[in-house]
Amino acid sequence: MRTLRPALLPALLLALAAPALAQAPEPAATGTAAAPAPVGPFALDPLPYGFDALAPVIDAETMRLHWGAHHRAYVDNLNRAVAADPALAKLSLEQMLARVSTLPKPVRDNGGGHWNHRFFWTLMTAPGTGGQPSPRLLAAIARDFGSLPAFRRQFEQAGLRQFGSGWAWLIVRPDGRLAITSTPNQDNPLMDVVPEAERGTPILGNDVWEHAYYLSYRNRRGEYLQKWWEVVNWNQVSLLFEAAQSRR
């Protein structure tokens, strides 16, 4: 992942995108205050917005737990796994994921959990501020899915059909085409454990673990998947699409 460095993406986005984002109230401060001192190579980055910024689509308590407890646990457990195996310290997270079939199970679970959540936070923004797919991304979506509404329906179906914990993804395949996939638990399309036909560069992902939506939506995952589009940061997804295209 040469250019996709999610730790830097929020800053990049703030520099490039909608003024409304730069004016988001009490954004990173809430997260920064609670962020732990790193005890290993990986750290829980602050959120690029406040816990309540995504409401009513995603409520503040869900965000607080999802970032401050679930994501934090993945970071802490990944650092533990790396500390227990010095050979891992030489690898970037992306290098670990690319060979995760050869690494201990905690690296797959927690390395995936860290990568996926770090990515997920950058894909969202306050309702109404995420813009639209860029003309080039929209053309690719129309080419590969028929239309933007058709893409949304297919993506929601992928999220609904993922049985148990997991993620729905929009990826750029090595041949440049877009594809919708899903993975169980904290696996992702960068991992070598994923079937080759479902590997690629993620440019959008939605978390369908129940912890992502249960407090607000209960068992109604389909409703969460539909509402979620209101907070999708299409400006960011478009940047990720361009980056993936330029690396081909």
Partner: protein
């Protein structure tokens, strides 16, 4: 549930009634969680199982256990919903209101002491397995083929009755590790849920299952 679970005269499986009220397991499990878990999640598995079977005449009329035994040959729609229907029905029967479930005794207690040192040792091993399980799934106490008691977990819809499952044996006790089982009451604190859950374990049911497995 050592007997077979058969579809009704119309060929469909039914959502089994609970043996206690939705609020009877509080405070270990709150009434809203029970209402959703039984009335929405379990119901959806039953409905989806029936829909999946309606499209597959060759599977109609078979018991749930017969379906699980050939899980490897089943389409995902049948396998996942059959597994979840069986697991949830077994889960409800594994619980009783606080103070009503009794305690391990007799042959079951002797087997627990033999294989875990004490009931406390079983609880510790069971909770550790449940806490370590990653993602959706189930924590089990089973009687293995060699007669020993074993603790382990299965992912998603798997049950020890399925061919090729991560754990095999005769199920004696199960706890649900899906987040919907505990998120409203415990949020991300799965370990707290696992610890509190023992207040509602139906040891009488576990003892009866153990006796049936020994006799089989």
């Amino acid at each position: 549930m050592t007997e077979e679970t058969l579809p009704g005269p119309d060929g469909t499986f039914a959502l089994p009634p609970l043996a206690w009220a939705l609020d009877a397991l509080a405070p270990a499990i709150d009434a809203e969680t029970m209402s959703l878990h039984w009335g929405a999640h379990h119901r959806a598995y039953v409905d989806k199982l029936n829909a999946a079977l309606a499209a597959r005449p060759s599977l109609q009329g078979k018991s749930l256990e017969a379906l699980l035994a050939r899980a490897g040959t089943l389409h995902a729609d049948v396998r996942t919903n059959a597994g979840q229907h069986w697991n949830h029905a077994f889960f409800w029967e594994s619980m009783a209101p606080p103070g009503r479930g009794g305690a391990p005794d007799g042959a079951l207690l002797a087997a627990i002491e033999r294989d875990f040192g004490s009931p406390g040792g079983l609880v510790e091993a069971f909770d550790a397995a449940g806490a370590a399980h990653f993602g959706s799934g189930w924590a089990w106490l089973v009687r293995a083929g060699n007669g020993r008691l074993v603790v382990g977990t299965t992912p998603d819809e798997q049950s020890p009755l399925m061919e090729g499952a991560a754990l095999s044996g005769t199920p004696l006790l199960v706890n649900d590790l899906w987040e919907h089982a505990y998120y409203l009451g415990y949020r991300n604190r799965r370990a707290d849920y696992l610890a509190a859950w023992w207040q509602v374990v139906n040891w009488k049911a576990v003892g009866a299952r153990f006796a049936a497995a020994q006799a089989a």
